[in-house]
Point group: C2
Chain length 302, copies 2
């Protein structure tokens, strides 16, 4: 089973049986609050809005959205708001977090706190689920920059985080491609040898719930015809579900070229903590924010 | 002045005043010979076909193209063929080289020979001129993998090679973007600091004939709207002519995502030697080979 478009994911959201709650941290942000309000108004989720009560009300009025007093959890500083958000998750009062008007570092500090945070002893990584018109299904690119230069062990965990997302969507054995410039292992290129090592881990049963191919180039991972021309055989060839990029620069260039030049749509989550964290930016489109919220909704526990 | 499409480049080819000659090394290759024959039949260039005479004739017969005996320069081995090609350039009998049925390393060995080769004491790099439907003009991505992990000095020369291509096309001051994950200089990321250094070299007059911006992310380099949203100002923002990638992996992913997912067309050349070298692969489209030959034709001296 695979999904071709984001709109198909909506069928996995079942607010009648299992309505999720997002905690929006520093909700006095017109972009984030607008996105949350849209999903709330559709009856798909509930929201707790953390931040300065007056500022949140002003933002809501400005956006023309309804906010009830009891939805708001007062917090004066970004630090306080983030800490309250983490508490709501730990107490089971919210299912996932979304970043509002604060810095990413401020948002994540209480999340990674060893005693009171949401860590699971694993790396946190950014999973970008992407709908590319010229590809036959949704595909994840990861890590989107939480770990600028991941080690081999971190790459393993980055894959696990992405696989977890697809498992929650119902995939059984997603196909993971460890990207490099070429499919020929090259000892002079660590990106290449990490592909060899990750594939071996998968074959030895140390990295499970997926099929790993690597190293593999983008065209072989994404275009069946190219693998046929090259005589390259792999169950993952031309059919990748997850693309692991070697570092933040390659990842950013690939992601941006897909969204800006190939008209791709994106939904992004931070995975690896006890709940997903939605972390969209001012520059994100309304659609991206909506899709990210829906994805977090499906991926989070209840 | 800028070019929007490859077809506009044809106007720069003037076979009546200045007909160029390609030396096809190991011409007994149906893909390469087919591409050369097409350009020859259009009257745009002349060709010298180096390789095994009988094999070349057989290949030509198989393709249904005319080859005259006097066009063929007999050479039995790949090494001999490449050496003959280099000699033709040094003697002024051919204007540029194209790789046929031999390995890239075999092709380049006599080219880089210090005494008898075509070196200019600078790095050789791969320049990929790209036509992306969603971008408003042709744009170069470089280096396509000649230097897997270029140093700062090598990056400077990679830029110079790409700038030379655009100067030959008539550009005065092409806009060069040194790509990285973010536009904010980050001392922990060499890709980022190389961007700072290359921009400084440009400002100090050590890297001329272009405007360099860096570090800069792909979206800021390619989409004006993104730079406006971010309040980011640069003459290069949203208007890049040349994209410098940090290494072979990022470059390959970016290039392949453009051609495979954003329907981009490509023309590729190796620059840095005394003549351009066309080096297309079996997997390249007919159009790519044609465009690469036309580009080499324009870029080569006479």
């Amino acid at each position: 089973m695979v999904f071709k478009k984001f709109e198909e994911l909506l069928a996995l959201v079942d607010p009648k049986a299992n309505k999720k709650t997002v905690a929006l941290v520093r909700a006095e942000d017109d972009h984030a609050l607008g996105a949350v309000a849209e999903v709330v108004e559709k009856g798909l989720i509930d929201a707790i809005l953390i931040g300065n009560r007056e500022a949140i009300k002003e933002t809501a009025a400005h956006l023309g959205v309804n906010v009830r007093d009891e939805q708001i959890l007062d917090a004066q500083t970004p630090e306080e708001a983030a800490t309250e958000g983490v508490k709501l998750i730990r107490e089971g009062k919210a299912d996932f977090l979304m970043k509002g008007k604060l810095e990413t570092a401020q948002m994540l500090r209480p999340v990674v706190n060893k005693e009171t945070g949401l860590g699971k002893g694993k790396v946190m990584s950014h999973v970008a689920l992407t709908e590319i018109p010229s590809y036959h299904k949704l595909v994840i690119t990861t890590d989107g920059g939480m770990l600028p230069y991941p080690t081999l062990e971190q790459k393993k965990q980055i894959i696990e985080n992405a696989v977890e997302v697809l498992h929650r969507l119902g995939y059984e054995n997603p196909k993971v491609c460890v990207l490099a410039a070429s499919e020929t292992p090259n000892p002079k290129m660590p990106e290449s040898m990490d592909g060899v090592a990750l594939k071996e881990m998968n074959q030895k049963g140390e990295l499970t719930g997926c099929i790993v191919e690597g190293p593999i180039s983008f065209d072989l991972a994404m275009v069946k015809e190219r693998s046929v021309t090259k005589g390259y055989e792999s169950p993952c060839a031309g059919d990748a579900d997850i693309l692991l990029v070697p570092n933040v620069h390659a990842g950013n260039m690939l992601g941006k070229s897909l969204t800006e030049m190939a008209h791709a749509k994106m939904a992004g989550l931070i995975m690896g903590a006890k709940c997903p964290i939605v972390l969209t930016s001012r520059g994100s489109s309304e659609e991206e924010k909506f899709n990210s919220l829906i994805l977090a909704c499906i991926v989070s526990n209840k």
